[in-house]
Structure formats: structure tokens, C-alpha cells
């Protein structure tokens, strides 16, 4: 087996950083040699702070994803099935969507103070939109003949949604879910970095303020791994669950 080329650049960069730090004997408050970062990572892993912070961040992200993504999905079903409703909601949706989710941080701070509720509220707001926009397009794009079949069979509305609409739109809904998951992690960390004393984002901020660059980079690399792993997991699930349909859904996004 040939050496994977993708690893060359990261390994060279690590070696160069290590060598540069050693040779110059630099003591810095902003960078640390990779060996120190690895030690800091092991320490944070061993004393449990890293895993606790990860749990807090992922917990808040998942709760927000469930609440906001769920609400977005419900509205997507309503707007996707009723063109009239979709037209009526066009202006309100266009008016609220461009508000950057981080702009709501101060409002949530006033309403709930520090802690999980404010973070979950902001993650919810952020996850609501991709689910709504992609979900609505997915449901509005269902093969009309399927809906005719449902009508001919005189399915009730819940049966129509459960047996026809959701299964037909599922591949694209999963794409929406994957994007919303990425958003939830990004927004949760952002809230933690700017205000909320919880989770990985706060751990990063704390390490920077304590002038511990080794710990800061350890948290940063871990965060990258978590984000990458989450995305890889969902991509794998998408491929397993939907096969070619998943790729088609991705294309028409």
C-alpha cells in the first residue's frame, strides 16, 4: 500500500512546527509545539474536562437541533403541501431568515441568562431555517402522482404524510438534517465562545485567556475532529440508507 498523500501535508506541518519551536527555544503565549499540544490533550482527556465539555456542547446542539429542526420540519410539511400557505408565508420567512443567529445571543441572554436554555434557543433558531427551506422544497417537489394516489385511496392527512409524503421526501430531508446538524454544532460553539460559560467553545476561550496555547490548540483540534467525525458519520449513514437516491438529493439541493 502506498503512503496516503493526504497525510503528508499535516505531518510535515506538525514536524516543521515542532522543529521550529525547539530550535528557536521560543516561549510563547500564543503558540505551542505539537508535543505540548499532545500532552495537553492527554491531560484534558484524562481529567475529564474535555469529555464533559464535549458532552455539554453536543447536548445543547442536539437539543436545539431537535427543537428547531422539528419545528422547521413541521412548517416545511405544511408549506410544502399547501401552495397557498407557502405564498402567504413568503414575506415573513424572507424577513426573518436573514437575521444572523448570533444577533439573537443578547436577546436570549436577557431572557434566560447564562446556561443551556439560551444556547438551545439560539441553536434552534439557526437549525429551523435549513430544515424549513430544504424540507419545503423537498416536499413541494414530490412526484404529484404519488399525492394523487393518496387522494384516490382517501388517506387521512396524517396517513398521507406518514405513508406518502415523508417517505417520498426522505432522501432530501436527510440532506437537510445533515446540514442542520453541522449548523447546530457551529452555532453552539459560537454561542459558547461569545457568551455562554459552557462546553468546548468556552474551554477554548478559557485556555486562550489563561495563556495556555497548548490547551487551546488541543481543544481546537478536538473540536475539528468532532465536527469531522459527525459529518463523516452522517455521510456514511446517508450512503447506506439511501444509496443513489442520496446522491440525487444532494445534487438537486
Amino acid at each position: 500500500m502506498r503512503f496516503p498523500r493526504g497525510l503528508v501535508v499535516p505531518l510535515l506541518a506538525l514536524a516543521a512546527a515542532e522543529a521550529a519551536m525547539r530550535l528557536s527555544g521560543l516561549e510563547s503565549d500564543s503558540i505551542a509545539p505539537p508535543s505540548a499540544i499532545a500532552r495537553a490533550f492527554a491531560t484534558a482527556l484524562a481529567d475529564g474536562t474535555l469529555l464533559q465539555a464535549t458532552g455539554e456542547t453536543l447536548g445543547a446542539a442536539a437539543a436545539g437541533l431537535g427543537l428547531g429542526g422539528g419545528a422547521g420540519l413541521l412548517l416545511a410539511i405544511a408549506l410544502g403541501l399547501s401552495p397557498a400557505l407557502a405564498r402567504l408565508m413568503r414575506v415573513p420567512v424572507d424577513a426573518f431568515r436573514p437575521i444572523p443567529s448570533v444577533a439573537l445571543i443578547p436577546i436570549a441572554l436577557l431572557a434566560w441568562g447564562f446556561g443551556f436554555p439560551m444556547e438551545i434557543a439560539i441553536v434552534s433558531f439557526a437549525c429551523f431555517w435549513p430544515m424549513l427551506i430544504i424540507g419545503q422544497a423537498a416536499i413541494a417537489g414530490i412526484e404529484p402522482r404519488l399525492l394523487e394516489v393518496a387522494r384516490v385511496l382517501r388517506l387521512s392527512l396524517p396517513a398521507r404524510i406518514g405513508k406518502i409524503v415523508l417517505p417520498a421526501a426522505l432522501p432530501r430531508l436527510f440532506v437537510a438534517f445533515r446540514l442542520a446538524t453541522a449548523v447546530s454544532l457551529i452555532v453552539a460553539v459560537t454561542v459558547e465562545i461569545t457568551t455562554n460559560p459552557l462546553g468546548l467553545g468556552y474551554g477554548l476561550m478559557q485556555a486562550q485567556q489563561a495563556l495556555e496555547p497548548d490547551r487551546m490548540f488541543a481543544f481546537l483540534l478536538w473540536l475539528g475532529l468532532v465536527g469531522w467525525g459527525l459529518n463523516a458519520l452522517l455521510l456514511l449513514a446517508q450512503r447506506r440508507l439511501f444509496g443513489r437516491a442520496g446522491w440525487v438529493a444532494e445534487e438537486v439541493r
Binding site: S30, I193, T194, G224, W228
Partner: protein
């Protein structure tokens, strides 16, 4: 349903939006929600008027935020297109850099803020660095994808015409990538606005991000809502402008 055309639906939809604002006013007036964090639209508008009046500070903060957003975005776009073109045009570059890019891409852009603070302090360059780092990815990846996905027959034509690599890049590959790049630029601008707000909240100097966090700390909710409304307007306008530019520039596609 389509008989009346689209106009009545737009009017009805605006009506729905106004209804929501009215509901907001009623909720605030009746005290359904605590006025500490939900001022009525009347008080938010008054705060807007006051902020833009002579002696108000909103003009300064709005221009600062727009400047941050635009400078960071332009920086990210130039770097993103250049690097994306390089990576997209070389199989070897993709082999070597693919894994690294794949790792950095899902990293929350705001996570780079502590690192930027460590190097640049709580300063304007820090804000710009965070914005540029965050919004470079969509453009870089879209450019690389657009450049790499040139129709093979066009490459054959280029070879038959003995075009140089540079000529292929500017005459075939980059034009091929334009639709991808434009869509990514629009998304990058959205990211730039978000990160401008984040950077301003952290740097605590000027800009709407700083102003709204300050308003929250001193419980001035009308000022806070005025800032959020302005951020929404900036997001809406910048997105709409780029959407128009995109449609103009892509007219040749005939879609």
C-alpha cells in the same frame, strides 16, 4: 389559484407579516412577555430613529459592521478563488491537500477566534482574520469543484489549440466555475456578516455586534432590538444585491 397572478399573493403575504408585527405590539402592550427583553415594535422603531438622529451612534456602528463584513469577505473571496483555482486544476494538489481541507472545513469558524485573539489581540485585524478564515471555505471549495469539473472535451479542444495552462485556466476552467463561485460568494457573504457580529462581540470596540451586547448588559432592550433589526436588514440587502448580480452575470446560461 393562479388566476389573479402573483400580486394579490404578495399583498396578502405582506399582510401576514404586518399581522405578526401587530401581534408583537399587542403582546408587548399587554405585558404577555416581560418588557425587559421584549419591547414593542414602537419602542424598537423609536430607538432606531433616535440612534440615527444627530448625535446618535448607529450610523457609525452600521458602517463599521458593513465595512468589517465587506473587507473580510473580499479578502476571503480573493484568497478562496486563487487557492481554489490552484487546487482544482491540479490532481496532485488535491491528493496532497484533500484530507487537510476536509478536516478544516467542518471546523466552526468562530472557533478560530481564540487563536486569532492570541495572535492579534482584541483588534480590528483579529475581526477581519476571523471573517476571512470563516468565509474563505465556501468560495475555495466551490472554485476547486468548478475548475475540476470542466467538460473533458473542452480540455481536449484546449490541447488541440495548444493553449498554455494559464490560458486554459482563464479561458475555460474559471468561466466554467463561475456559477459555482457566484453561489459560494453569496453564501460567503452571509457567513461574513455572522462572523463580523461574533468578532465585534469579542473585540468590544465598534460595530453592531458590540452595540447589541452592550445594550443587553445594560437592559436597554429597545436598542438591542434596533440593532437586531438592522443586522437583519444588512443580511437581507446584501443577499438580495448579490442574487441580482448573480442573475445578471449568469444570463448567458439561458436558464
Amino acid at each position: 389559484m393562479k388566476q389573479g397572478g402573483e400580486l394579490p399573493w404578495w399583498i396578502a403575504s405582506i399582510g401576514v407579516a404586518l399581522g405578526i408585527v401587530l401581534l408583537w405590539q399587542v403582546a408587548a402592550d399587554r405585558g404577555w412577555v416581560s418588557p425587559i427583553f421584549l419591547p414593542g415594535p414602537d419602542r424598537a422603531l423609536a430607538a432606531l430613529r433616535e440612534g440615527f438622529a444627530a448625535g446618535g451612534d448607529l450610523t457609525l456602528h452600521v458602517t463599521t459592521t458593513i465595512e468589517h463584513m465587506l473587507y473580510g469577505w473580499v479578502l476571503a473571496s480573493v484568497i478562496g478563488i486563487a487557492l481554489g483555482a490552484l487546487i482544482g486544476s491540479s490532481r496532485r494538489a488535491r491528493d496532497y491537500l484533500g484530507l487537510t481541507l476536509e478536516f478544516i472545513r467542518p471546523l466552526p469558524a468562530s472557533a478560530i477566534a481564540p487563536v486569532a485573539i492570541a495572535f492579534l489581540g482584541l483588534s480590528q485585524p483579529m475581526v477581519l482574520a476571523v471573517i476571512a478564515f470563516g468565509s474563505v471555505w465556501p468560495t475555495l471549495l466551490a472554485t476547486a469543484h468548478g475548475v475540476a469539473s470542466v467538460e473533458p472535451r473542452l480540455i481536449e479542444v484546449a490541447r488541440a489549440l495548444r493553449l498554455s495552462r494559464l490560458q486554459v485556466m482563464f479561458k475555460i476552467a474559471l468561466p466554467n466555475a463561475v456559477p459555482d463561485i457566484l453561489a459560494a460568494l453569496r453564501y460567503g457573504l452571509t457567513v461574513a456578516l455572522i462572523l463580523a457580529v461574533v468578532g465585534e462581540m469579542l473585540a468590544g470596540q465598534e460595530g453592531l455586534g458590540h452595540r447589541i451586547i452592550l445594550a443587553a448588559r445594560s437592559f436597554r432592550s429597545p436598542d438591542l432590538f434596533a440593532g437586531v433589526i438592522l443586522l437583519g436588514l444588512i443580511g437581507f440587502t446584501s443577499n438580495a444585491l448579490l442574487a441580482v448580480a448573480e442573475r445578471r452575470l449568469l444570463r448567458w446560461q439561458g436558464r
